[in-house]
Symmetry: C3
Subunit: 157 residues, 3 copies
């Protein structure tokens, strides 16, 4: 059986999401079974960038409106400078032919990395399945622990 690696992506920042996917894609390239479990602000990396019509309470709408819509809209954990920082990072990544976050996510899917959205947080923040990208799974903390218990590389990002 191949080795299992799991990452909890809790943070909603571009730099942390990039780090998570670089590690995940690297581990998948070495034939690890890899799971990324998206919880809290990490779920924002999975959001579609268009507005999806859904039936929400006022507070759910407020969360949906305040949180970034998808991998292209995330800020940086440091030196965000009101959105200039992410543009700088994207610029240098392009210049160095590094994969962008949306490309890293696509690669992860192609390599069979399991992308799991935390259903409990989705409930709390009022995120609906139709607002998140296709090709992902939905589960709770029990499923995460099941995967994590089989692996040695378990990170919380």
């Amino acid at each position: 059986m191949s080795e299992q690696s799991t990452i909890v992506l809790f943070s909603g920042e571009l730099d942390k999401a990039i780090a998570a996917f670089i590690i995940a894609n690297g581990a998948a390239a070495y034939d690890h079974e890899v799971t990324i479990f998206f919880t809290f602000w990490g779920l924002n990396a999975l959001r579609k960038d268009e507005v999806i019509q859904t039936n929400k309470s006022f507070l759910e709408k407020a969360f949906g409106w305040m949180m970034p819509r998808g991998a292209n809209k995330l800020g940086l954990s440091k030196m965000n400078f009101g959105g200039l920082g992410p543009q700088m990072i994207k610029h240098v990544m392009k210049k160095h032919n590094a994969l962008s976050l949306p490309q890293l996510i696509e690669l992860a899917k192609e390599q069979g990395v399991k992308l799991v959205a935390c259903t409990m947080t989705m409930d709390l923040l009022g995120l609906k399945q139709e607002e998140l990208m296709d090709g992902i799974e939905y589960a709770g903390v029990a499923a995460y622990l099941g995967d994590a218990s089989n692996g040695k590389v378990n990170l919380f990002i």
Copy 2:
């Protein structure tokens, strides 16, 4: 022997503390031995909410005054909005019948999760045992490493 899981709770934010306790309670429900090691700002989740009279230096008093007193006073890592964010999260958690952080802490104790306050950071920040909640243990990094070496799910939050 049952499996060991350890979490270092370094961060002092409500959302990260909730994530730590949800994972810890989940692992305990699956019969893992679970240790949460509270260090740096994570210690604030263990503080009693009343002011405790202690003998402190000026700087220790300053730290004590600036840091939040307990699980009900923590802010969010994102969208804190001067304290409005935590109220929004608490509101939706209550609406969804999710356990609050104080309830998650109580559940962890009932399930035998070992809550350990890092004595080195307590010294640095001037936190005294009488300022922290009852039913916790006190130890240093060596004790943490002893537990962590026995487990596979080791997270730093």
Copy 3:
């Protein structure tokens, strides 16, 4: 064979770097093989504090100018107060005879902790080897995963 422990130091804050080195030095004292893999803002802890003449693009110069030069210049993740917080922490650490971050780094080197700078992030941020301290290694995510797969204590800080 002795046990392997790895830490990814992604964050560039003083308090998180101190936590990483205290855990690393503790594990090394218990005869673990320890690797700290410095990526993104974590690389700043390895920078020399003087200005090094290098051949850089404008954006690389901008990153170099904005990011802190070395272990003595890092801020705090909480209560930074425009640089006052780090001085408070350094003051109480000195008062308690705790090792400073530069001393913790020296101790780690003496104990054989492997300090590895992430070459991919160095490329992106335009950091050159001559800007980083001596006695460290240079590698990518594959080398990190090789070490991490051999250990159980794998943290992302």
